[in-house]
Subunit: 358 residues, 2 copies
């Protein structure tokens, strides 16, 4: 089978890590029976500066009509407000209805601060909340006032919670087959702030709970837990090993996933996938890092893992597992690490070290 | 001078720590020339269950008409949505226009994870953002939809940033007088998400910047920095020693301060003050902790430090400094620590150990 993959490097180090993503797909063992074809697509702040649009229609149309999946690098945000510019990845998530942003965070090795292995995943709603970007500004009695809408729907809350439940099931299955002994409780933690936002976050909380109470989750022993978002951040930093799947509205998910990344040492390790029905875009969680661009020192691991995630959500679990395993081996051996990990290896050296483990 | 202090224990361990707060005020050295009188006031979920209102008008009126400051313990949130209940502390902040929530976070001793001393303060806007609690729910084509308003005003953004600048000035002055050598850069970091919320968070960002560019801050060498909220959480966990004053809209401030608390070991250490013009309410950052209530094991340190903060904002810096120093001595000696800190001391034992250092 040939999968057609859109490549959207974006800005900065996106242009170094996305080629690494392409390369690992091409290097997958032939025994998997997978073939790939690629199409290069534009988006980002550079694109905006050149053409006046950050996300060209051609990019969206090609993804919709030709592609099975895609890889997205990173985009630079303008350092001063720039008229007409708005984030292409946020737009892409909405235009392709990629309603879930899945961000697994896994520790490499025990540390003094975190002796127990961290292995959690944040499942972030990806289409609504404050990201609907409906804002207005008006003159009040004491100067300007601006308002934004936070929108939470039953539909989006239900499908993201269902996705979280399915991910909990899949993770439990994989855990049981690899280390039948781990004994980690399969659990989904619903994050919200319904003590203040009783209607919006109250709807998220209640809908997520109902979705997760479905018998296929409860019969399989998936526990449901809740945390208020501020307390979730606190707990995530105090006892990260206790968590499995965390489901959250868009903005809390954004904040929690950067927080979780800090726990495992570097944003350069943390992948994500933007997932819709039958489509997935892999995207490293890090930014465009203009300070290190062009030096071949960006950490490609987040992108390689994002390739794995994309494959997983395209139904290619075996190929995904190959990538995860090769990456884990690279990290635990620790011979070829990029500078953010305290190593000296170039982007391409890390990549080749991962590939040679296939 | 006699200061009249309202005491609002609220629920759970609030009823154990607020008496400790009263006791430390009474125990302050007479040489300070301060006297206190107290008035007990109701608020909280218990109050709601007994009377149908969580924040009685009498409490608000007494604070307004009779008091110079107050101490607030903690309130329990109902575990299921409860009609008519809404958080009394959120209401109190708005009704008394306590527009700043000031949350200093300071490490006790270097740890393996954080070898450099952490000493930062989060200055959280306390009256608007999503906390305006203007919500509505309607039927959409695919089920219920709920919306909340996030409101950001120029006026509130400007005064909170000015407050942050003033706190940075005061901190620098205190640092210079106690350890002329620390060399820590005085700095205010503006936290926002204007890459997504260009109008609301854009207004916060721009207004805060303008307020902090006033010559009395810039002439004193207060640096202005910015961080997008997700990246702020990441950086706060990676390099907390780099930060001094962090100013943020209400909700980000709420999340960031719980995150910062996790860095220094326990929420039981972290104080706050809700500050308006000429009035301040000290409030420990922790919750009502019903699981440990009534056992005399709650950590009183957050409350004792909140008493210090309250005094600081009522212009009693010398008295505040006495409390901070006694608390720091208790912690660094480490002989009387409560169970959350790995110790065995009772609430009252920690309190007496602090007091005996006056
Ligand atoms: C760049 C920004 C718009 C984006 C977001 O907020 O979703 C980023 O932080 C992310 O997490 O992918
Ligand atoms: C209890 C809750 C309403 C409150 C808040 O969100 O402000 C608390 O988390 C706090 O930080 O004081």
């Amino acid at each position: 089978r040939t999968l057609r993959i859109g490549l959207i490097p974006g800005d900065g180090i996106g242009r170094e890590v996305i080629p690494a993503g392409r390369r690992i797909l091409e290097a997958l063992p032939p025994s998997l029976g997978l073939k790939f074809s690629f199409v290069d697509l534009d988006a980002g702040f550079e694109t905006f500066k050149n053409t006046g649009v950050a996300l060209p229609d051609k990019t969206v149309d090609t993804l919709k009509n030709e592609c099975d999946g895609a890889l997205f690098g990173a985009v630079s945000s303008p350092s001063t407000p720039t008229k007409g510019y708005s984030s292409p990845i946020v737009a892409l998530r909405k235009r392709l209805d990629l309603y879930a942003n899945v961000r697994p965070v896994k520790s490499v090795a025990p540390t003094a601060a975190f002796p127990d292995p961290i292995d959690l995943v944040i499942v972030r709603e990806n289409t609504e909340d404050l990201y609907v970007k409906e804002e207005k500004t008006y003159d009040g009695p004491n100067g300007k006032v601006a308002e934004a809408i936070k929108r939470i729907s039953e539909r989006a809350s239900s499908r993201i919670a269902t996705m979280a439940g399915e991910i909990a099931l899949r993770r439990r299955r994989v855990r049981n087959s690899t280390d039948g002994v781990s004994g980690k409780q399969a659990m989904v933690t619903i994050t919200h702030k319904s003590n203040v936002l009783s209607q919006t976050d109250g709807l998220f909380r209640q809908t997520a709970r109902t979705a997760l109470e479905q018998s296929r989750f409860s019969d399989a022993g998936i526990k449901i837990e809740e945390q208020i978002v501020d307390s979730m951040v606190y707990k995530m930093f105090r006892q990260p090993a206790d968590y499995d799947v965390i489901v959250a509205p868009n903005l809390y998910g954004d904040i929690l996933s950067d927080g979780a990344a800090a726990l495992v040492g570097s944003l350069g390790l943390v992948p994500s996938a933007n997932v819709g029905d039958g489509f997935a875009i892999g995207e490293p969680c890090h930014g465009s890092a203009p300070d290190i661009q062009g030096q071949n020192i960006a950490n490609p691991i987040a992108t390689l893992r994002s390739v794995g995630l994309m494959l997983e959500f395209l139904g290619q679990e075996e190929a995904a597992a190959k990538i995860y395993q090769a990456v884990d081996e690279n990290l635990s051996e620790g011979k070829y690490l990029s500078p953010d990990m305290g190593g000296k290896a170039k982007t391409t050296e890390v990549l080749e070290d991962v590939i040679k483990r296939f």
